[in-house]
């Protein structure tokens, strides 16, 4: 009972935050709404007993990345969003079609799986609490998922090198 109430509360917070991101006219308020969404997501992870993922969500997304967003918004001093001159022809129609497509896809997923009971994975809650949340993620990252993990490292490295190259060229 308590946990489902918790879920509904977080679900409302997350969804309202996400809608507010696009609805606010001021970019700074959008950033704040996105932070709220991320905090709601962290709460949802917490209710799924994924403490490590929840806290990392807060540290990386809700604080570090959103701080960069906020920094940029403050630095270039964005005011209220002006009426954009740049508009694609038929932008609204395309948006509606894309939205409908995603909605129907989600609807199909929900209709077909809502009544199914999930299969037990290799890490049920008992085992997780026995081995420790963080330890399991650490072990999996460096054993089963070592290739994607390394690939992410390469990707980030390329990103850093790219940033350095871009920054250097401009200063010359």
């Amino acid at each position: 009972m308590a946990s489902s109430l918790f879920f509904y509360f977080l679900a409302v917070v997350t969804t309202v935050g996400a809608i507010a991101v696009v609805a606010f006219p001021s970019p700074l308020y959008s950033v704040l709404a996105l932070i709220l969404t991320f905090l709601g997501l962290a709460g949802l992870y917490l209710s799924l007993h994924a403490q490590f993922v929840a806290i990392v969500q807060v540290i990386i997304y809700a604080s570090a990345i959103m701080m960069l967003f906020l920094f940029v918004v403050m630095l270039i001093n964005l005011g209220r969003e002006e009426k954009r001159e740049l508009r694609l022809p038929g932008q609204k129609l395309l948006g509606a079609i894309a939205g409908l497509a995603v909605f129907s896809m989600l609807l199909k997923v929900f209709l077909s799986t809502s009544l199914m009971t999930g299969k037990k994975g290799s890490f049920p809650p008992e085992r997780v609490s026995e081995l420790g949340n963080t330890q399991i993620i650490g072990n999996l990252l460096l054993t089963d998922y070592v290739l994607p993990f390394q690939a992410m490292g390469v990707l980030l490295f390329v990103g850093i090198v790219g940033a350095v190259v871009l920054a250097r060229r401009r200063s010359r």
Binding site: I55, I59, T134
Partner: protein, 326 residues
């Protein structure tokens, strides 16, 4: 029922103690400052000026709240609270004493023993920065804005090294829980095994709490007061209490990670914990009284080119030592 009462008691004692300590830090700061500068300091209100924080509090409460006309009022009022709440919440995972027996029940003197404790503290510290940045933006004034931007950049830069400096201890003890880390130091405190980690932690701690010589977000000589220039009355007081609370929390983290937490001979554990925290706080004040402020580019260069590589070296060395020596 008894469990509920005990939890309530712990919360009251923990947070009440933290707030009281934070209030008295203002007194200690002014006295230490006076000591360094061969002055007397506040000594009129109560014996040795001990009632000064209360007098200050009453004064601030009765001051008029001035909100700048051009300010974003909602964010302006909310921002100090956004700093204070995480600063208080972060303290919840710090064990401030051994377990005691109350009403026939064994009570651990920690508000919440979370298994990702230290990450939780970082998460709260990260959220707390928003209070500073938003407050500076909402004031709609140039000096606070510059202070806020500096604060955001500084915290992103130093948070990395701060986290990495603690990683060595986490690797040795094999747990993220602060209670577990104190248990791991029964033999000797980790400062013996992690001298470089301790040094890096202390430097980053100063930068994280905006203290001299890293107090650029509020550099009064160039920014008149930085992010809280436009704040007055209780809003200002909340900012300053939040600042002291986060200093105390980080001091407590330092004491827990490197100095053995509440462990110590003869004296009761809570007292030992307090002594270690106060030693850190004294260091903060001593440093503020005796060091000049860094230039902004020096601050950034130091963070990225010296501290970060050193903390990576520390992590690699510790990892090698843990694997090969055991």
């Amino acid at each position: 029922m008894v469990t509920l009462l005990i939890i309530l008691g712990k919360v009251l004692v923990g947070f009440g103690g933290l707030l009281l300590l934070a209030a008295y830090m203002t007194w200690m700061e002014r006295r230490v400052f006076a000591l360094v500068q061969v002055r007397v300091g506040p000594n009129r209100v109560g014996p040795s000026g001990l009632l000064q924080p209360i007098a200050d509090g009453i004064k601030l409460m009765f001051k008029e709240t001035i909100i700048p006309a051009q300010a974003d009022k909602v964010i302006y009022v909310l921002a100090p609270a956004v700093t204070l709440i995480p600063a208080l919440a972060a303290f919840a995972v710090v064990p401030f004493g051994d377990s005691v027996t109350v009403l026939g029940q064994k009570v651990d003197l920690v508000l919440a023993d979370v298994n990702v404790g230290i990450l939780y503290i970082f998460a709260m510290a990260g959220i707390g920065v928003y209070g500073i940045v938003l407050g500076s933006w909402a004031s709609n004034s140039k000096y606070p804005l510059i202070g806020g931007l500096r604060s955001a950049a500084q915290l992103i830069s130093y948070e990395l090294s701060l986290g990495m400096s603690l990683l060595g201890v986490v690797m040795i003890s094999g747990t993220l829980s602060l209670k577990g880390i104190v248990e791991g130091q029964a033999g000797m405190p980790y400062i013996v095994l992690q001298p470089l980690g301790f040094l890096l932690f202390v430097i980053c701690m100063l930068a994280e709490t905006n203290r001299a010589p890293f107090d650029l977000p509020e550099a009064e000589s160039e920014l008149t007061g930085g992010f809280h220039t436009e704040y007055s009355s209780m809003h200002f007081a909340v900012y300053s209490i939040a600042e002291y609370c986060s200093m105390i929390t980080l001091s407590a983290v330092g004491a827990t990670f490197f100095l053995g937490g509440w462990r110590g001979p003869l004296l009761p554990p809570v007292l030992w914990f307090l002594i270690k925290v106060l030693a850190f706080m004294f260091f903060f004040m001593w440093l503020r009284a005796s060091t000049p402020r860094l230039r902004y580019d020096q601050l950034m260069g130091f963070g990225w080119k010296v501290l970060l590589p050193l903390s990576i070296v520390n992590v690699i060395l510790t990892a090698a030592a843990v694997v090969f020596i055991g």
